[in-house]
């Protein structure tokens, strides 16, 4: 009996937590007249309050069609987000996987000190490193280009930290065995490290995706030209008079995120757990 009560409470809480998506989904398939009648108190700033119905009276995909046909700037921003996210992830892969292996398995002078430094940098919020980033970006003439977002993100120490955890958990005996078989350190890294640490690499990439898809602080500071902006900064600029399009655009922005989320669920959870497990 006690368990049933707890379960019911948990389910109510789960529905509450998910309600924003349901709300947005409802809005995205609502007809324009229904939307404007619900929203008129906010739109015209007159008395009364916004009403809402989670299930539209006449569901329609018209907002999505309008988004597709009439909002070319949406596609520019969507493409900006995809492009920046992809380049950041590929860059992080190339840079952080060998670095994580080096920290986990190789003899490097001052290794512990350097790794502690990486952890500290990982924990510093963007506001602390913002000015540092800017000074370099300005010298390299990269301000107001998408590289001002991409390059600092590629060298984030967060993926190094996550992947390091997974590399550390590979048993020494396997590595010793392959060394006895005559593998050099590059072969050990490629043939043993990467395959056995792949779960960690995927985890770091998923966490990296969720971060890159949500970039706000960096583009806000470093990108003046709005045509370079990612979707995350552009979306809130769609006015409420275009509520239908705004809802549809919000849903389109959620989709890649949720796909990665559900596709990589196990890896995501492993990655999160790794962000706090024992050193």
């Amino acid at each position: 009996m006690k368990k049933i009560i707890i379960l019911v409470l948990l389910i109510i809480l789960a529905i509450l937590i998910c309600s924003p998506i349901l709300f947005m989904l409802g809005g995205s398939i609502m007809g324009n007249s229904e939307l404007s009648s619900y929203l008129s108190p906010v739109l015209d700033n007159k008395s009364g309050f916004v009403h809402w119905s989670l299930i539209p009276n006449y569901p329609t995909l018209r907002s999505f069609v309008a988004l597709l046909l009439d909002s070319p700037e949406f596609f520019v921003m969507f493409w900006n987000s995809i492009k920046m996210t992809l380049i950041i992830l590929i860059g992080q892969l190339i840079i952080s996987v060998p670095a994580a292996w080096g920290f986990a398995r190789l003899k490097i002078p001052y290794k512990n000190t350097l790794f502690n430094l990486y952890v500290i940098l990982m924990l510093m919020p963007f506001q602390v490193t913002m000015l540092s980033n800017y000074l370099t970006l300005d010298k390299l003439n990269l301000m107001n280009t998408q590289y001002s977002i991409i390059l600092p993100a590629i060298f984030s120490t967060f993926p190094v930290f996550i992947i390091h955890r997974f590399f550390c958990s590979i048993p020494v005996s396997i590595i010793e065995a392959s060394k006895l078989d005559g593998a050099n350190k590059f072969q050990v890294f490629l043939m043993i490290g990467i395959p056995l640490g792949s779960a960690g690499i995927v985890s770091a990439m998923i966490l990296g995706f969720l971060e890159s898809w949500n970039l706000i602080e960096q583009p806000l500071a470093f990108l003046e030209d709005k045509t370079l902006w990612p979707l995350s900064l552009y979306l809130p600029n769609i006015g409420l008079e275009l509520a239908g399009i705004a809802f549809a655009a919000s849903i389109v922005a959620i989709v890649p995120s949720l796909l990665i989320f559900f596709g990589g669920q196990e890896h995501l959870e492993a990655g999160i757990a790794a962000s706090a497990l024992k050193e």
């Binding site: 510093m124 979306l235 809130p236």
Partner: protein, 284 residues
């Protein structure tokens, strides 16, 4: 032979070299410049000793923003840690569908901030949904984002976003406790609550320190919600350090910014060291 061995040692360094170079170029070396600039005037020509530091500590905006940021951290981190611990413990208790529920709690993490800003505006607007509901109970509503309530809303949003992440961290800590300890306690006649207080909580201490550190890091990201909903100059109660840095950056007040960056870096560094010391002491 010796030379050959040296060469082999050097190739080890190659693995971390690209990463280390990038980190040095984009963060470490320019941060030294930031420290230098914090003692210079805005154009970087004259040495002004600690003038920038005394300026920011007398600056109303800086005091307001750091006060709010500290208050935010002091309120939301304990709440988040407590709620997520309760949920993790409950989910651990062989509830049917626990695995699915855990995933549902994690979903907010995957929802882009920008996608729910619209909802936020409609709910908390003066003529919005929340006031409509309140009116049904004859309660007078308000323009929520322009009152002190904005702070509470921001705390709520932080907890909503991070609860799933923390549940997973707690579950990882709980999962590492051997079942045999509980069996032994049960044999000795300890009930659920006693086992929880005397076995579970002490073992979870190291997890607590790590969760606190990560929650702290993530607490800075509420700027995203605050900025997208209320812009560069929101209601005073949610004017955070993040807003201030952003505004100073736009005005190119590099002198104040560098002093503030150094101060924030030192505060966070001290926080990390305290957490690490506490952790090391636990694990001895």
């Amino acid at each position: 032979m010796n030379k050959n061995r040296n060469w082999k040692q050097h190739t080890d360094v190659l693995f971390i070299l690209p990463s280390l170079l990038g980190v040095s170029i984009f963060v470490l070396i320019p941060f030294l410049d930031v420290i230098k600039r914090s003692f210079q005037n805005v154009t970087g020509e004259n040495f002004v000793a600690i003038k920038n530091y005394s300026t920011i500590f007398h600056n109303r905006a800086f005091l307001l923003a750091s006060g709010n940021t500290l208050k935010f951290i002091a309120i939301c981190i304990p709440l988040l840690i407590l709620f997520s611990l309760i949920l993790a413990v409950v989910l651990k208790e062989k509830i049917p569908g626990a695995k699915l529920l855990k995933r549902v709690f994690l979903i907010p993490m995957a929802i882009p901030v920008a996608s729910i800003v619209l909802l936020w505006r409609l709910v908390f607007h003066e003529h919005g949904i929340l006031n409509g509901v309140l009116a049904g109970f004859s309660v007078q509503g308000q323009d929520w984002m322009n009152t002190n309530a904005a702070f509470t809303i921001l705390v709520g949003s932080y907890i909503w976003k991070n609860i799933g992440y923390n549940i997973i961290l707690w579950l990882a800590g709980l999962g590492a406790i051997p079942e045999a300890i509980y069996e032994a306690a049960r044999v000795d006649g300890a009930g659920w609550w006693k086992s929880f207080v005397y076995i579970t909580l002490p073992i979870l201490k190291p997890t607590l320190y790590r969760i606190t550190t990560l929650a702290f890091l993530n607490s800075f990201k509420v700027f995203r919600e605050a900025y997208l909903v209320a812009g560069s100059y929101p209601h005073d109660s949610i004017y955070l350090l993040q807003h201030l840095f952003n505004n100073w950056f736009r005005e190119l007040s590099l002198d104040k910014m560098s002093a503030a960056a150094v101060v924030v870096a030192i505060v966070i560094f001290i926080f990390i060291i305290i957490m690490k010391k506490a952790l090391d002491k636990q694990e001895e």
